[in-house]
């Protein structure tokens, strides 16, 4: 499957709030394949960066140019938030929600919901209210709901913070499968181990700007800037 949503070209992206610059200016080209990991200290603007690319953060300056029209582009992305936002409905209804909005036939929805629920280990919990799930189950459900409509581009904002090892492992497996199936992934994380396991490309954000970027293999082993080097060493970067 060719990912015709990408490449994406971002130029001069800037987000300011109350006179303070939170992000940018950022220039970036996002290629069709790969899994980009966004690294950076707290307050570097990782969340704002993801939301700005996704189009849900108001830009003060800059443009996003997709390979498709903007309207098409919006329909082919999904976002997984740090603390999962689940609808006050059952597991099945949460999974079905994006599909029914897109007016898929009912039989197809039921089938896909069952498949995804099984895949994230909630096959027996279809009718359980989503708020009764454990933290890991909630995040897996949010991820499955994001992937069920087969997005071309998936954003994840520190999805595994606060999760146990097993849930993290399951989520990473799902992500790698999705990547192989052609979904472009951008993942913000704190977890250097996760970055090493998943990344094909690294963006290091500091003070709202891309401080260093490149293929994961080089960035994570031979960082060019002292800040990224310090960050990878586990030192505090301001």
């Amino acid at each position: 499957m060719v990912n015709n949503l990408l490449p994406l070209t971002a130029t001069g992206l800037t987000v300011q709030r109350r006179g303070k610059t939170l992000l940018g200016p950022i220039d970036l080209r996002l290629e069709r394949t790969g899994l980009t990991v966004v690294l950076g200290p707290n307050g570097a603007g990782k969340t704002t960066f993801l939301k700005a690319l996704h189009g849900i953060e108001r830009l003060n300056a800059g443009t996003l140019t997709w390979n498709l029209t903007d309207a098409e582009a919006r329909q082919q992305q999904a976002f997984v938030f740090q603390s999962p936002i689940l609808l006050r409905r059952s597991v099945a209804a949460n999974l079905a929600y994006p599909l029914s909005l897109a007016r898929h036939p009912k039989a197809l929805i039921t089938k896909q919901v069952a498949q995804w629920a099984h895949r994230i280990g909630l096959g027996d919990a279809l009718s359980r209210p989503a708020h009764r799930l454990s933290g890991g189950e909630k995040q897996k459900l949010a991820l499955a709901r994001a992937l069920i409509s087969d997005p071309k581009l998936l954003f994840l904002d520190e999805p595994c913070t606060n999760l146990d090892g097993r849930s993290t492992k399951e989520i990473e497996a799902v992500l790698q499968e999705a990547q192989q199936a052609g979904t472009r992934i951008i993942l913000a994380t704190h977890d250097l181990g996760q970055a090493r396991r998943l990344a094909t490309e690294v963006l290091f954000l500091k003070s709202g700007r891309i401080h260093e970027s490149g293929p994961a293999a080089s960035c994570l082993t031979t960082p060019q800037t002292p800040e990224l080097r310090a960050f990878l060493n586990g030192d505090i970067v301001e």
Binding site: I56, F81, I85, L87, R88
Partner: protein
């Protein structure tokens, strides 16, 4: 004290003998107030939800006016509706004055702001919770409102029941626009006012107890039907 006791006794006999007049005015009370509730809800629930999610220029003013309208004096509403529906008024040709329809119109005006305001407050919370997700999924405005209404149904039910409570217990407006005509527009509250006027406190109080019982039953029935009190569901 004796009056209250006699009221209880009279309420008891009215109910156990299924007094024909009582049944008639009780059904009419329900008919008028439930119709007003349905119409007001159709307007107020989407409007209150829309207010919660939409930013526009006069939003704060609109909300302030809405909250102020929650306290509309029913008598004034009644008088205005009377003047509008009177044969000499702008809508006189419709011939609606002194009919249950006129009473429904007055009650819709009284309870719509109340339901919309409670809806707005409840929906604001839900919207804060859902905001990022629904924006991210790029859902059209109408579908957003619908999602909030479906998932906030419990709060909306509370809003609607508050509206129903105000409608079924209202007397000032429907007395003026309905006229309290026996077998045509007499409802529980206007009958209570009438019997109080005649000094028949026992009967008035008896009807009052029936009214309270009715309001409680409707609340219980609606809660039971919608299953909102079952903990396992939303």
């Amino acid at each position: 004290m004796t009056d209250i006791w006699q009221g209880l006794v009279s309420a008891f006999w009215l109910v156990v003998t299924l007094d024909a007049d009582l049944v008639e005015i009780t059904l009419r009370s329900l008919q008028v107030s439930l119709s007003a509730l349905v119409i007001a809800s159709l307007v107020a629930l989407p409007f209150g939800t829309w207010l919660a999610i939409r930013r526009f220029r006069f939003r704060r003013t609109t909300i302030a006016i809405l909250n102020a309208f929650m306290g509309l004096p029913p008598v004034v509403v009644g008088l205005l509706v009377y003047l509008l529906l009177s044969r000499s008024g702008p809508f006189g040709v419709l011939g609606l004055l002194f009919t249950p329809t006129a009473m429904i119109i007055a009650q819709v005006i009284i309870i719509t702001p109340l339901i919309a305001s409670i809806t707005h407050q409840a929906m604001r919370e839900l919207w804060a919770e859902y905001h990022d997700l629904l924006i991210s999924m790029n859902i059209p405005s109408r579908a957003r409102i619908w999602t909030l209404i479906v998932d906030g149904r419990r709060a909306l039910l509370t809003a609607a029941l508050a509206g129903f409570g105000r409608a079924i217990g209202e007397v000032g407006a429907i007395m003026i626009v309905g006229g309290n005509i026996d077998h045509a527009t007499r409802v529980l509250t206007t009958a209570i006012a009438l019997e109080t006027g005649k000094g028949d406190f026992a009967l008035a109080l008896g009807l009052g107890f029936v009214l309270i019982g009715l309001a409680v039953s409707v609340n219980l029935i609606i809660h039971a039907l919608s299953g909102t009190e079952r903990g396992s569901r939303w």
